[in-house]
């Protein structure tokens, strides 16, 4: 967990560079409220303390990075309550939650306040640090452009460097790739889930391109737009809510990618990755069982209570 938090720091610095102090304020509020709700819950129910495992901090950071920079300051607090108390603690705490808490909170906020979550400011615009910004220039995200069948407003280089309207943490592809390489080197995340996830989306974008300027552009835009890379690299690889076996991981990544493409092309919201991972979370155990059965012919994988 600590390594994950270390890799989040450059992403946070870059988002502060693009969106100002507001990015830091939102992230700080999110982390503090996640940790606070977890400590409060454990204390009220007289359970052993679990704040030390830093998972609440990771949840806070991931939740904040999936918000647009113009979200009100109380947004992460509500999301933190939903993520930590309802999705994580009420299901049994760390290691027992079925759904990824940060992602579930993002979906909860998207469904409850869709207007706020889908208005993205242009980078390098001054935003107030604490007050809710009222007048700001909104940019059209690449996903909205692709959905309408037109060319995105940003060039490929801008998408790669991250100076595009988007979520706080999902902006810079280059920093996310560097962070992912570091985590892969340290063996914290596995290669199978991101490879299958992004590979499936790329393949679908190549076979059914949405960008009018050709297949290669379509693949690159689809892969770099929205929060796909962030979710595939840091959220879908969460060890609690992802499979353990390699075959299971590949299957999980493939299904997540397929669902992302279907939701992006035919769904209501322009972004589909967060919904796709949440939809695949309940099937993780079944995928592990299938992989184990394939590996050990006739063997079964049982869920053992500790």
């Amino acid at each position: 967990m600590g390594d994950l938090l270390i890799t989040m720091v450059p992403i946070l610095l870059l988002s502060c560079y693009y969106y100002g102090a507001r990015a830091f304020v939102l992230t700080a509020v999110s982390v503090v409220s996640c940790v606070g709700f977890e400590a409060l819950y454990r204390k009220m129910l007289r359970l052993p303390r679990s704040v030390g495992d830093l998972s609440a901090m990771a949840t806070g950071v991931i939740l904040a990075f999936n918000l647009p920079a113009t979200a009100p300051v109380w947004f992460p607090v509500v999301g933190a309550f939903f993520a930590v108390v309802i999705v994580k603690q009420l299901f049994g705490g760390l290691g027992r939650n079925i759904f990824n808490p940060a992602l579930a909170a993002v979906v909860f906020l998207t469904v409850s306040w869709p207007g706020v979550m889908s208005s993205f400011p242009l980078p390098f615009n001054p935003l107030p640090a604490f007050a809710t910004p009222v007048h700001f220039e909104t940019g059209r995200t690449a996903l909205s452009a692709l959905r309408a069948g037109s060319m995105p407003d940003n060039t490929l280089l801008e998408m790669f460097l991250g100076s595009r309207p988007g979520y706080l943490g999902a902006c810079a592809v280059i920093v996310m790739l560097a962070a992912a390489l570091y985590l892969l080197y340290r063996r914290i995340i596995s290669w199978a889930i991101p490879a299958a996830f992004v590979g499936t989306v790329a393949a679908a974008a190549a076979i059914f391109p949405r960008c009018p300027s050709g297949r290669l552009d379509s693949v690159l835009f689809e892969v770099m737009s929205g929060s796909l890379l962030f979710i595939a690299l840091f959220v879908a690889t969460d060890p609690v809510t992802s499979p353990v076996t390699t075959v299971g991981r590949l299957l999980y990544g493939f299904c997540c990618g397929l669902l992302t493409v279907l939701l992006r092309y035919f769904g209501i919201y322009p972004e589909g990755a967060c919904f796709a991972v949440l939809l695949m979370n309940p099937f993780v155990l079944a995928m592990d069982r299938l992989a184990w059965k394939l590996k050990v012919k006739g063997g079964t994988l049982q869920y053992v209570e500790e």
């Binding site: 309802i86 909860f108 469904v111 409850s112 306040w113």
Partner: protein, 246 residues
């Protein structure tokens, strides 16, 4: 004697409504409570229709449970539930057409829920058997039919009380959920705008997952109250016994 009877009636009513609340304790008929309670008007409508349906169904059950062979009891009462909801549904469509349209098909679904209530209540006790005239003394012959009749009346009254209790329990759950959902979800209550909550419009509560979460928290609150009462009565009994010993 009448005070005893009144106390027994009150106890039955309270038991069906609170400690055996069909929605909040036994988790029956959760579907209409979750689906249509987006406004208080809907909640009140389904509560009234459910209460009338339950009264009809419990009465039929009190009258015909023992006369039917065991195999036929389920199908007959299920059909009776469907038959009983039809005039109620038509009346609702006549009197409040817009609210009935908003509730949709969950109003006739209340028939299935009422059947679930009725099927999970203990069977009515058998009436005392009418003894043959020769075996009894001459003085007791006159009382046997009267005793049977009184038991029959008691059974009907008990059925009505159970129906009223279940209906009131369902009404409490439906009104509570719909009131909270409308107040916090759309800032109105019974279509009157609430001044303070207008800004808070928390649309998540109007959607199905919000309903599930809300009902879950309500169920947890009810269970917490029950547990605390049980703990308090158990502590009270222990105090009494220890006081008697010491």
């Amino acid at each position: 004697m009448w005070r005893n009877r009144a106390a027994r009636c009150g106890r039955t009513l309270w038991r069906e409504c609170a400690s055996r609340n069909p929605v909040l304790v036994r988790a029956l008929a959760v579907s209409p409570v979750l689906a249509v309670t987006v406004s208080l008007k809907n909640g009140v409508l389904i509560s009234i229709v459910m209460l009338l349906e339950l009264v009809i169904l419990f009465l039929l059950r009190a009258l015909f449970y023992r006369r039917l062979p065991e195999v036929l009891r389920g199908p007959v009462f299920f059909a009776a539930a469907g038959a009983a909801i039809t005039p109620l549904w038509m009346a609702a469509r006549y009197f409040v057409p817009d609210v009935t349209a908003a509730v949709g098909f969950y109003l006739p679904l209340l028939a299935a829920c009422a059947f679930a209530f009725v099927a999970t209540v203990p069977a009515p006790a058998p009436l005392p058997v009418q003894s043959s005239p020769e075996a009894e003394e001459p003085g007791a012959q006159a009382t046997a039919p009267a005793v049977r009749k009184a038991a029959g009346v008691r059974r009907i009254v008990h059925a009505l009380l159970e129906a009223a209790g279940s209906g009131l329990g369902f009404a409490f759950a439906a009104v509570a959920v719909s009131g909270i959902r409308e107040a916090i979800g759309s800032g109105t209550l019974y279509d009157r705008v609430l001044p303070g909550l207008e800004k808070l419009k928390f649309a998540f509560l109007l959607l199905p997952p919000g309903a599930f979460l809300l009902l879950g928290f309500l169920l947890a609150a009810v269970q917490a109250v029950h547990l605390r009462r049980k703990r308090r009565t158990r502590a009270g009994e222990e105090e009494e016994t220890s006081g008697n010993d010491g």
